[in-house]
Amino acid sequence: MKFLEYKAKGIFARYGIPVPRGVVASRPEEIRDPPLRAMVKAQVLIGGRGKAGGIRPADGIAEIRDVAGRILGMDIHGYTVRTVYVEERLDIEREMYLSFTIDRSARDTLLIASSMGGVEIEAVPHEQLFMEHVPALVGLHPYVLRALTRALGLEGHLAEKVADIARRSYDLYRAEDAELVEINPLVITKDHRVVAGDAKLVVDDNAEYRHLEYAKLDQDRTPLEEEAHAKGITFVQLDGDIGVIANGAGLTMATLDILNLKGGKGGTFLDLGGTDDPDRVAQAFEILIKAKPSVILLNIFGGITKADTVAQGVKRALDGMHATVPVVARIKGVNEDRAREILKGVGMHSADTIEEAAELAVQVRRGGV
């Protein structure tokens, strides 16, 4: 789960992390009582807003509304700006970087900090990064914070403030099941406050059941992905036109790769998982059909999965939606012959291997079959 900046900042504030004062709006005239020396910031779930012109200064209510009006509706890397955040403009003395994230290799949490803030962390040279693991079994102890503030060259009150923000960020990271808590830039103002200039928060989708309050947030999903998510279906929209559906994430990825090697391009990643419940299969196919693929490529390798009930689900969806989209299927599993029978009834093309199925799908798309 990703969070728009203003929502992330709301959560940060709950943990006592200082954030600038701000107001949110989806139309210029909604902006009331904003900070009068402001930054107007596009709220989109993608980086690079600043360079794209999505973050601009404005002074006074009139200019703020004017600038907001120009930012609202902008397209930033494919994302339409529907919300702006009008925030107190900070007098920046120094910008730093601070984040907690998961280190998969070390199977541990990684604290990353840098005295180079306000830029993409990937662009910061390795020797400019402070990195320290924070093991979940013992938690964040003062020695890490001492090393952190030392690496940032901070002393006295500023060191204490940054250490405190780091401690609170880690609490947030743990308690909110975050994958990423990032403050970039972490700003020292000219009047010696330490404030989260930006706030990025990504929460583990698998922990949604522990944070039901987040379930309805704006997500980085297309409307169809959102619909699939609501139904518990693993679905990603891609930029090709062949609808790929398979069982298992790895197999679905491999099917897309093979399709590509055969000259086709996948328009969907749809992982049926282990299900052979015809109702679930039908639901998944409905999503798939709504994605308007030119052809559907179905690849089931079901050692245990019952192929015939999968086929029933496919048939049910095609019939129910009066869909005429051609289906190329490669089905292996229990009752695979019966499955082929059922799908032949809806005009399905059949293949023995993924490779053949992929080739066939490409041919069908070209109108060659």
Partner: protein
């Protein structure tokens, strides 16, 4: 005759946590049919009953004490899985196979290092389990596609592995042990650790690594193979066409910025002298040329 294998042999005494659920019951039957010594099930409140002829206990400790279980397979739903895994670790089993998917990784950040501190090996979470063909299965994979042999398989995915193993079996390349390490970002046994086990195992002569996008497990595996693995290795990497920033089904299968791409993984394997199959079925063919 006793054969060696990695982690799981015909002597392993398995208990099933969450045996009374649909999946638990179904796979208990399937594992018994395969010859796995499923000695006990655990489900609080159902102690004293039987599932598929297997005695059910209220706690892991009872199951271990009564039936000398030394491994566990976990089917318990995600919100209760952490508890079940800790119970298994404290109960004293040496191997815990976690089938459950969608466990928050913050839970794994605790139970994975804790298991390690107790000398307990975790496989998974979000994995198909482990099978030593002809000996035992602690997992949910279809048994009939496997055949006993000398190829060790380590994989981040389920059905894709079945596809590859099926082809291997047809081509005459039987398997010593297949470990489905799971598709989550934090897993108990990673690719490098599985490779280390296969390198040591006398029954394993060759190794297949099935990787996918996300993280750097394959890059680390390639590095490890260069330094420590003398047995021939072939690889397959899924997700060559996956876009950045999208989670491809597995919680761990995501390209983040420029990290975790298939290109990087394929290149790492190539640099380590590991042939990488273009199509899944080619893995078996590549094995033939090692």
């Amino acid at each position: 005759m006793s054969r060696t294998a990695v982690l799981l042999t015909r002597k392993t005494r398995l208990l099933v946590q969450g045996i009374t659920g649909h999946q638990g019951t179904f796979h208990t039957r399937a594992m018994l049919d395969y010859g796995t010594k499923v000695v006990a099930g655990v489900r609080a409140g159902k102690g004293g009953t039987k599932v598929e002829g297997v005695s059910v206990y209220d706690t892991v400790r009872e199951a271990v004490a009564t039936k000398r279980a030394n491994a566990s397979i976990v089917f318990v739903p995600a919100p209760f899985a952490n508890d079940a895994i800790l119970e298994a670790i404290e109960g004293g089993v040496g191997l815990v196979v976690v089938i459950t998917e969608r466990i928050p990784f913050h839970d794994a950040l605790e139970f994975v290092p804790y298991a390690r501190s107790k000398g307990c090996t975790i496989i998974g979470p979000n994995c198909p389990g482990i099978i030593s063909p002809g000996q035992s299965k602690a997992g949910i994979m279809p048994s009939h596609i496997f055949s006993a042999g000398d190829v060790g398989v380590v994989s981040r995915s389920g059905t894709l592995t079945y596809e590859i193993v099926n082809e291997m079996t047809r081509a005459g390349f039987g398997q010593s042990t297949c470990i489905g390490i799971g598709g989550d970002p934090i897993i108990g046994t990673n690719t490098v650790e599985a490779l280390a086990l296969f390198q040591k195992d006398r029954a394993t002569k060759r190794i297949v690594v099935v990787g996918e996008i996300g993280g750097t497990a394959e890059e680390e595996a390639a590095e490890f193979i260069k330094k420590h693995v003398t047995k021939p290795v072939v690889a397959y990497v899924a997700g060559r066409t996956a876009p950045a920033g999208k989670r491809m089904g597995h919680a761990g299968a995501i390209i983040q910025g420029t990290r975790g791409t298939a290109e990087s993984k394929v290149k790492a394997f190539a640099d380590a002298g590991v042939p990488v199959a273009e199509y899944p079925r080619d893995a078996a063919a590549l094995l033939g040329s090692t």
